[in-house]
Symmetry: C2
């Protein structure tokens, strides 16, 4: 049964059928369905879910629709949901709510929920602490496999994952035991004998992107989080890590296209918000590009004598921009996925220089020949060809080095992308072009 | 102990200490260490690992170093490694080897390894079949929880994941049982009673990127793969999905910067290969940009009379390019993460149009005022301001619509990014600019 069919059932108010369909659907799909409904149908359908399932579906919904939906809830209903949600999801939800509502709600939830939520709320938004959850299974090293399994049986259901259990002593993490180990060993074996004491961990203060990368590097489902005193305070799970990686990539791409990062989804954000996130860089780049224009006016006499000179400006500017953008994209992405480091700077410079020579000569020959054939003007062909080679070298060197420099200065390399590179390279290429032209044409 | 310390031990040939250190290290870190060693030390250190661990480390290494390392192996050693690796990793390795070597090796491996490898080798590179693995745990619906646990105990160790078990009948997938269910239920309960019969699955023929997205959407660790006859043939695990998502993003970014996708890592690829992947688009875009140049020559007389006209060309071109690139990036990314669809085209068009008006007026006012103050030339200020508004509208409309159009035509939207948009918008903005100028200056 597809989502569209359920939408039809809702339109026709066939409540019994809707109820039956919802029971068969994945909670993620129900969340998607609810988002597509209009505001008056949403609470209606939501209330057809049993309470526990409702809380799960709620945690999968988008912020905007969730805030809309919650308006129709009683405080009791919200409190139940908050108590049932994983703490990290509850925090995500509360962060979008007005402060006075949060205070009111937190007064009504269970004491342990309030304590956990308050702890998570204090971590900075880009820290590993902000994406961790506090539901996990702990064991003691003196336990037997049987005792451990019995413990998991009682607490397991409330934990986001029980597949890795943590052996702790006074909150200090001694080692890991996987569910696989528990299943495949005899009940009377001791936890301490099968515990892995070499493990990957992260700190609450680590950058959340660095934390997320550990998942793909080590292929882990879950990583324990330690506080600055080395005590275990939570876990991060792979699904949150995937979300972080996706979001960081989107952020990089937006910055690379001269925008400030906009967390809202495109369709839901307002025109005003879209314009605001785009305008600052456009203004900066527009005024920077005026410098190139000012340089051109200095060569007014040159193109007064040879007007054809002007017609190669767009081609030179675009080619320089494209070459620079290729290099900066490769370096920014390489830095983002830890394939490149600042220490590779010299190797990168040398590679880009040689690539620039190869690309430059090819493009110069192709375009030089075209100009010679079309305009029968050998000097012009030479001027354009030489300018192209010089522009491409500048573009590739600047394009590859600026992101590395940004990284070194602890700035986000993503801002040193196509738009800035283009503006810098434009100025250089125009100067090179007119210099070569004035020399060759003896202007 | 850091990698650098181990490197020192290797340099000093302190074999006993190296051996002890390796025992404590994570296999992923050992693989990284091996990649950093020079060719003669690599086999030396590799042979210090016990056989099973060696096979695991081998599966984490990069292709280049692996191919280099394998040259020092006997056929027997390689065969052992192939038999120990997960089938998907073995296939990744074999795909990089010469065909005659593959044939020779496959003759020597176990029959089941050969059968599995041959099956995986026949899936197209971008299909879900190509990233699946065939090691998974199956149960029968008549089993009890106790029997299921006993079965896992014997086969579990060889399976990439035992946390989701598959209940099959004649290879047909009936449902799932999680390890959590097995642990938390009594030994005499029946599998059929706790089996989940609603589950997410993918097809061998699905696109691997679509398959990978299911993991983040549903927060799953593993998804079963069905063949066209609905029979279960393998599983895909979240770590392979993360890799696919990362690789697809890198591919998108490279295409968005006017490059053909280069699978090799930046530092390891040759200068020639780098140049080859960049040159085709540069040539196409360079010749396209010449069109803009040709248009400029048509207005030779205009800028012969008012040379100042030329100096605003770079600013107009860059601003148009940046505006278009902002829109195209938002749309391309939105399509990639399934936030946008072709059906949103009208909504997007309308939003971009309004954003363009807002951004256009702001930039036009800022630059018009600047030009008026600097050059005391009201007409010129008006020409530039009007051209800016028109250019920005064209840029945002073209920038947002071309990726959607590409999607509709089943092309990769990523090619409709900044470079192509810039070239298209350049031509339009130059025509608009000179048209407005000739009218206002009565040229």
């Amino acid at each position: 049964m597809t989502k569209i069919n359920v939408m039809d059932l809702i339109k026709n108010r066939e409540f019994r059928e809707i109820h039956d369909e919802l029971k068969e659907m994945n909670p993620v799909d129900i969340a998607e369905l609810l988002e597509d409904l209009d505001e008056k149908d949403r609470p209606l359908v939501f209330r057809m879910l049993d309470k526990e399932r409702g809380a799960e579906v709620f945690s999968y919904m988008d912020d905007e629709e969730r805030q809309e939906l919650v308006k129709s809830f009683t405080d009791q209903e919200i409190t139940y949901i908050l108590d049932s949600m994983y703490t990290d999801d509850a925090v995500d939800f509360l962060e979008e709510m007005p402060a006075n509502v949060v205070t009111r709600l937190l007064e009504r939830v269970r004491t342990d929920t309030r304590r956990d939520v308050n702890m998570l709320l204090k971590y900075p938004e880009d820290s590993a602490g902000s994406i961790m959850t506090v539901e996990y299974a702990t064991l003691k090293k003196e336990m037997t496999v049987g005792e451990a399994l019995d413990k998991i049986r009682t607490i397991g259901i409330h934990s986001e994952t029980i597949y890795t259990c943590y052996v702790v002593e006074n909150k200090k993490l001694l080692g890991l035991v996987t569910a696989k180990d528990l299943i495949t060993h005899e009940r009377d074996e001791k936890i301490i004998d099968l515990m892995l004491d070499q493990f990957v961990s992260i700190r609450t203060t680590d950058n959340r992107e660095d934390a997320a990368k550990m998942f793909s590097k080590y292929g882990l489902i879950v990583i324990p989080v330690l506080d600055p005193d080395d005590l275990m305070v939570g876990i991060v799970t792979f699904d949150d890590a995937i979300d972080v990686l996706q979001e960081e990539t989107t952020e990089d791409m937006q910055k690379m296209a001269a925008m400030e990062f906009n967390e809202e989804s495109y369709l839901k954000s307002s025109v005003f918000s879209q314009a605001r996130h785009r305008i600052v860089w456009l203004l900066i780049l527009m005024f920077s590009a005026s410098i190139t224009g000012a340089i051109i006016t200095r060569y007014e006499e040159a193109f007064a004598v040879i007007p054809l000179l002007v017609s190669f400006i767009p081609m030179l500017m675009d080619t320089g921009g494209n070459c620079g953008s290729q290099s900066s994209t490769l370096i920014i992405r390489g830095l983002a996925i830890d394939e490149l480091n600042f220490s590779d700077a010299f190797q990168i410079l040398w590679k880009e220089f040689r690539v620039a020579i190869l690309v430059g000569i090819t493009l110069a020959l192709a375009n030089g020949l075209r100009i010679y054939l079309v305009y029968k003007n050998l000097n012009m062909a030479i001027v354009v060809a030489l300018s192209l080679i010089a522009t491409i070298i500048v573009a590739k060197v600047v394009g590859s080095m600026l992101p590395l420099l940004a990284k070194k200065c602890k700035l986000d390399p993503a801002i040193m992308a196509s738009p800035i590179i283009t503006t810098v390279v434009d100025t250089c290429s125009i100067i090179i072009y007119f210099k070569i032209a004035t020399i060759l044409f003896k202007l």
